[in-house]
């Protein structure tokens, strides 16, 4: 008799737990619908991922030792530096190489 009572109690507890889980699932269902909206992968990625890797052969890059003496210590941004290099080494660039 005691065993039966214990089994009934356990069964009731399991049922209650299952009902609680079911209730929580129902409660979360409409709230989770906010995740239905998404942005296209390419647009949602950061700015860095949008920058395409430049295909540059490192062997063609000049070393700092080859730079002219009047080279400024600082540039405003990378594009300025790139333009400066193109101006200086435009004659040395291999054929078919285009500035971006």
């Amino acid at each position: 008799m005691k065993k039966l009572e214990a089994a009934l109690k356990t069964g009731k507890l399991i049922t209650d737990l299952m009902l609680i889980v079911l209730l929580l699932c129902i409660l979360v269902l409409p709230i989770s619908s906010v995740g239905l909206l998404q942005v296209k992968k390419s647009d949602s990625d950061g700015v860095l991922s949008q920058q395409k890797a430049r295909e540059v052969d490192p062997r063609t890059l000049p070393s700092s030792a080859d730079l002219p003496e009047d080279t400024p210590e600082k540039f405003n941004n990378f594009n300025d530096f790139e333009n400066y290099l193109l101006d200086v080494y435009s004659e040395d660039l291999p054929e078919g190489t285009e500035s971006q």
Binding site: L27, S33, V34, L37, V39, K40
Partner: protein, 187 residues
């Protein structure tokens, strides 16, 4: 007893869940069409081309959910404050019966289980909109509207529960009510 309450809560939670889900989907499609924003429907949901469009539609559709929640909460609070079985006025009872709207009169068990479910949705939506607002996924005013709705409905719900407790507890005396005893005697 515990199972009975849980079954009642599950029973009461299904309709609001479907209602809110429908509102979200219909609002997303409707507002996108109205604003002329293009989206595609993929296996994971609605996909928008730009982040700005996503934030716009997400905000407006979530606000539609808050509005739907407000309607539901208003209905429950109206029932619990005006048509509650324990403190409905005799005049109102007669009026409702004459209008064949006696189903509006409900007991505490039904009203509080419905109220608990709607309040749970309100709190959950408030937390989710808060997190989304922090990460810039929706406009912050959507979160504030959800916060105001939750705060107001909680206050009114607590007031009704207090009113109910006063009626059930005989130790709490009401200050305004005057007791009149009629005695019938034979001459």
């Amino acid at each position: 007893m515990f199972s009975r309450i849980l079954i009642k809560l599950i029973d009461q939670a299904i309709v609001p869940a479907i209602f809110l889900l429908t509102v979200k989907i219909v609002a997303t499609v409707g507002i996108s069409r109205y604003l002329g924003i293009v989206f595609t429907v993929g296996p994971t949901g609605f996909v928008f081309d730009s982040t700005a469009d996503y934030v716009r539609i997400s905000s407006y559709s979530t606000f539609a959910m808050v509005a739907a929640l407000a309607i539901g909460l208003f209905y429950i609070l109206l029932k619990s404050m005006a048509f509650h079985e324990t403190h409905i006025s005799p005049k109102m009872t007669a009026k409702l019966f004459s209008l064949r709207l006696s189903t509006f009169i409900q007991g505490s068990f039904d009203l509080y289980s419905q109220g608990a479910i709607w309040m749970s949705y309100s709190y959950l939506l408030m937390f989710v909109t808060g997190i989304m607002s922090i990460f810039g996924m929706i406009y912050s005013w959507v979160f504030y509207s959800s916060l105001i709705l939750t705060a107001l409905s909680t206050v009114f719900f607590v007031l009704d529960v207090e009113n109910e407790m006063k009626m059930k507890d005989p130790n709490i005396e009401s200050e305004t009510e005057e007791e009149i005893v009629l005695s019938f005697e034979e001459n």
